[in-house]
Amino acid sequence: MIKNISNLGDTAVYCDFGSEVNEIINASVIDYFHHISKLIKDKKIEGITNLTPSYNKLIISFDLTITNYKKIKNFIESLTINRDIKNNNQKVKIPVCCDDEYGLDFPRLIEKLNIDKEKILELYFSKEYFCYMTGFIAGMPFLGDLNKNIRCNRLETPRLKMPKGSVGITEQFANIYTFESPGGWNIIGNTPKKIFDDKNLDQPALVNPGDKVSFYQITKEDYLNWYE
């Protein structure tokens, strides 16, 4: 449930579902997201331009020439949300090469976490992760939760260019940079797999909220010869 609603600038509403990250709170965010998306599609509400669900927040962007903060806030407060029972979540397996030329931040991680590379990889690859949200630049999946021993903060200064396919970790989360972009996550490897496909208009992202994701390690040779 929404704990607090505030404005994010003059063109967005910030719905706060709390500060914890767990699947229950995230499911509530996703329920609101689906519910409001449907109302937009059915033209029951005007002026909303984007919905951005995340772990425990929902940001609603709107066109200030059509509506305003107060109207959208009132609309959100008037909603009754039903639990979304549809369950079409999938299991996705993603290959990763962790050679040093792809795992850019092992030196930093080894120092900050005080464990060796083998142990980091063992802990990383032994879990199945839950997709809380997708975003950033086209289909980047935000996955959790990492083993407690490999949790580390973001880079102090984000990199200007993360290579496409970079697999990163920060705090209890893992993700994949679907395109070359700036970014602040600790990079442990790279995947040759296509995570975002703009030719697939209905579902361009390989991983979607609610999906279960596991990773498996591949050699540099497998990486370079990857074909799909």
């Binding site: 063109t11 984007n50 700036p182």
Partner: protein, 317 residues
């Protein structure tokens, strides 16, 4: 008859197709994109009698050199731009912004540079002949979405023009000139309280420099370090245009049209909607200052800004 098109003889620094932007895709990580300076985008279209959602060419710093093939068109350039029109067999003449011109087969438009701004816009009557992706012509070069395979234009590329109505070409003008401003108005962000009193004092009283790290995603600023006393990381959550994030190094970053849809750095403030066009046009080396306004003030300023835009549109003739 063969379709009219521009042949690119020089691509320029960052020449892309843009429009109003692409909505309803933040949840899969696709930014709005669209023209950085929406007012100038609309002006360019108005000058050639287009609908306001028609595609235009956006360029940054040095623009393209274009030659018209197969036809006669009406075009206009908006922004603060130095450009020439090179008439076939007649030579070059200086071009004026906010004025539409007739261009004949073989004539060239040489967009030499922007002046006290970063972006400019070129519109042609009837628009460009391109396919929309998810309802928009905008090019998102970060995710390779939109015209030209989602990439900026290169030498020898062609930009096709829909169907210029050669019978009805009129030269129009908007009596406007672009003026930059270095006071940026902001609303407190959702993590405003994460910053020390000292940092907030600096935010509103000291200069911030626009660094060279400027693109359609965002602007990195350099100024006094904005000290965070709570947490330099937040759980990744949505962003919108104008959000000012502060990473652990204390240097703010302003999000522009191609921004990542989510981010995990605290949001100290958000630039008001009425100042987004202005912010996007800031050039490296410029010093800016921030002023706080309330939500209500921001809404009034936006209304005044929109009314002013409409006044110019109505005066166009």
């Amino acid at each position: 008859m063969n379709k009219a098109y521009f042949e690119i003889l020089r691509a320029g620094v960052n020449t892309t197709i843009q429009d109003k932007g692409r909505n309803h895709l933040y949840h899969v990580g696709i930014a709005v994109s669209g023209a950085i300076d929406q007012r100038n985008y609309i002006f360019a279209n108005r000058l050639v009698e287009n609908q306001f959602n028609e595609a235009v060419v956006e360029f940054a710093y040095q623009g393209p050199l274009l030659r018209l093939k197969n036809g006669k068109i009406n075009f206009a350039i908006s922004g603060d731009i130095f450009f020439k029109i090179i008439r076939k067999n007649l030579g070059a003449e200086d071009g004026e912004c906010y004025k539409s011109y007739i261009l004949n087969e073989g004539d060239q438009i040489d967009i030499i540079s922007t002046k006290n701004s970063t972006y400019g816009y070129l519109a042609v009557n009837g628009g460009f002949d391109l396919k929309k992706t998810w309802g928009s012509y905008s090019t998102n070069t970060k995710a390779n979405i939109g015209p030209n395979d989602g990439k900026k234009y290169s030498l020898k590329d062609k930009i096709f023009i829909k169907n210029s109505d050669t019978k009805n070409l009129i030269e129009r003008k908007i009596n406007y000139s672009y003026s930059p401003d270095n006071i940026i108005r902001i609303i407190k962000g959702t993590n405003f309280d994460y910053f020390s009193k000292y940092a907030i004092d600096k935010l509103f009283n000291e200069d911030f420099l626009i660094t060279n790290l400027v693109d359609r995603m965002g602007i990195r600023l350099k100024g006094p370090k904005l000290e965070n006393i709570v947490n330099t990381n937040i759980k990744s959550e949505g962003l919108v245009r104008g959000v000012i994030q502060v990473p652990a190094d204390g240097n703010p970053i302003i999000m522009l049209s191609d921004h990542g849809t989510v981010g995990g750095y605290p949001k100290i403030a958000v630039v008001i909607a009425a100042d987004l066009d202005l912010v996007g046009q800031l050039t490296p080396g410029t010093k800016i200052n921030f002023r706080e306004v309330s939500l209500e003030e921001a809404q009034n300023i936006f209304k005044a800004y929109t009314d002013e835009t409409n006044k110019y549109l109505n005066e166009c003739n």
